[in-house]
Symmetry: C2
Subunit: 410 residues, 2 copies
């Protein structure tokens, strides 16, 4: 068993659960410390970029109480800071890799944990391979996080359940809001997810308790057809005056252009630039033109990925769990792997954690499968609902101070 | 004491607390029923519009349990539906008023409660006057609601505290999100409030616990100056790379044009229409042009007024209380009044409820006073924070089912 210090970093876009995973890794390292395996766990500021500048903090010292870890779990985004650095290969950038090993040796680092999305897993993969080939004994383990839920090998990704819960609750609240008038009105809600429609599909969960959710849901997995869209809105008007539509930011026309680019015409901003105004805004204009009724578009924007006050308790517990499991796996000698959440085949929803070889995962995208999308391409199936529903169950109870949730800030 | 039935309606734009006030009125009526004063309370569907079509429900029957009232209190928007009808004067539209009295007589309605904003208070005022002049004995009482907090006579409006809490929490979460990178970036958050900046001012509350809130706050009470804006962002960059700005949708240039109209150039949409893109989007373009750094704008949109899952417990309790007090006041013979929330001069924040003659209130707007805005016009003062802070205190605990808050739907 490898004895030495650990380093953990956070990378890529924030989620409401990436700090919960960090808390899990710290808990795991503290557990290993008791067994004499990991004396100290360090945190790198701003991912691998900060690490290269030796910008590190001593997490063993900082998190000296259970209370601080609990606050960390309820804090959105990346407490250590993040970066978007895509590592080159050792052949193209030997200096950086040599520098990394130099720092590893200096701090006796034998465990490397990286919490992130696709690009971060690529970093884990390259680093594990490099260490092995250069006889530096180290276990390099990736822990996934993304609100997009588009990583393969894992049933779902930490951070997705909280984003899905935010989307579902917000859609439900918006539905109440837009349903108060008797006048015909269309409300279009644009949801994150450029390549995969998982988060947009979660809008359907708004209706699981009382039957009425969004009328139409458009995912990037299907080509967007203007005529079908207008016809479907008109059909929905036959049922009720307030029509609610969820669209992914990444929906495209049949010719491959993003809907957000507009319908042939181009928006020109105040400075004469062509502006990408987003799928919701473009469809708002389309409805105004083709149907002529009241229409509003709403871009859910950043709160989708940082609304930790309404995080899914299931997601937060799993995010902590998978971080803890990552340390266990590393101590057992795993390297070059990404941790996965595995849905167990039980009557009640339950999960286990394991790991998968990272090389096959790093550059693949898991899209919403055909059987989760309805035939018309404007909604999701019961199978999709059944997959998504358990992920948003449970509410966390963050500590509040002056009416605001307490956050951990380094 | 007038003995007869009651009718209650909801009007204008939704808030997270308008149903709490409805629950308060129903509780008040049930209390009066026990004393033999109000046998039945009816609810009008879609405000005065529905009432004119005798579209009513029997609330005494529907709310036969405390549990249903509790769920109603935690449901956003207007459970009875709403309308935006502005009543003409009896001289201009005698038929409508005659019809109203006809329905009052048919259902023996002696108490009329209307929950709404400015236009609704105008309806209350006209109706009370008409009833008095036509010898129809009836008590007509208005109960305020608006997220804009711009009604006079009352210290603050029901619904505002919950919207302010949503804004403060969301700003705090966005601040965590945008602070993860080391790269310079400006984030501009556009907040509701066309004529008064109360809700935008609430963004400052994001920083009350840990000192760091938005860097700059622009209210419609001050003319917006492009040069000051760019200079203030550059100053903020000297402190940290992530600059967060809150702007009201209603900010205007010195020449009186809305900032949302753009900077001289005009946005043309896909159909050749001039588009109003919103203050946030316009300022996003401005920062891109003048500073050239990464910039994002976020429009908080409808969730500001319907995110009841994170409603302020103070606001909800007061909203219920003021509804209950409205029935008490009516039973005591008050008519042509709007209920008010009065801040008591105590060390600890506490309020009482009273009423004010409506005629002076109906068409006035309460704007953020000078002493609440800093000298530079880009932030708020401690006095403003002290006024706002108690309104967002406390969290409600809505009932959850399948991970979603339960709503009452008629």
């Amino acid at each position: 068993m490898l004895i030495g210090n650990a380093i953990v970093g956070q990378s890529g876009g924030p989620t409401a659960a990436i700090n919960a995973t960090l808390a899990g890794v710290i808990r795991g390292a503290k557990d290993a410390e008791k067994k004499g395996i990991i004396p100290t766990i360090y945190g790198m500021r701003n991912g691998i970029e900060g690490f290269l500048a030796e910008n590190m903090v001593n997490l063993s010292q900082i998190f000296d109480s259970e209370g601080k870890l609990k606050t960390l779990e309820a804090t959105p985004a990346a407490a250590l800071g993040s970066c978007r650095k895509k590592m080159k290969s050792p052949e193209d950038d030997p200096k950086t890799y040599a520098r990394l090993v130099e720092i590893f040796k200096k701090y006796d680092i034998r465990y490397f944990f990286y919490i992130g999305g696709n690009d971060s897993m690529d970093t884990v993969s390259k680093l594990a391979k490099y260490a092995k080939e250069h006889d530096y004994e180290m276990c390099v383990v990736g822990v996934p996080k993304t609100i997009d839920n588009d990583l393969t090998a894992t049933d779902h990704t930490p951070g997705f359940g909280s984003a899905a819960k935010y989307v579902a609750i917000t859609m439900k609240e918006i539905l109440r809001d837009v349903s108060v008038y008797t006048m015909k009105a269309v409300t279009i809600v644009e949801i994150m997810g450029r390549d995969a429609g998982w988060l947009t599909a979660s809008a359907a969960l708004a209706g699981i308790s009382d039957g009425k959710g969004p009328d139409l849901i458009y995912l990037p997995e299907r080509k967007f057809d203007v005529n079908e869209f207008i016809a479907s809105i008109n059909s929905a008007f036959e049922k009720h005056p307030a029509v609610l539509v969820a669209v992914s930011e990444g929906i495209k026309f049949a010719d491959g252009r993003y809907v957000g680019e507009g319908l042939g015409g181009r928006k020109i901003d105040a400075f004469g630039h062509v502006a990408l105004s987003g799928a919701g805004k473009v469809l708002e204009g389309l409805v105004k033109e083709e149907i002529g009724c009241k229409v509003r578009s709403i871009e859910l924007n950043l709160p989708q990925r940082c609304a930790s006050h309404i995080a899914s308790a299931t997601d937060i517990a799993e995010s902590v769990g998978v971080g803890f499991a990552a340390v266990r796996a590393a101590v057992q000698g795993k390297t070059g792997v990404m941790m996965t959440i595995d849905r167990l085949e039980c009557e009640e929803y339950s999960v286990g954690f394991s790991s998968a070889d990272i090389s096959a995962i790093a550059n693949a995208v898991k899209r919403v499968p055909d059987e989760y999308i309805n035939e018309e391409g404007n909604g999701v199936t019961d199978a999709c609902i059944n997959y998504l529903a358990p992920l948003i169950v449970g509410e966390i109870t963050p500590e509040y101070e002056n009416g605001l949730p307490k956050h951990f800030v380094l």
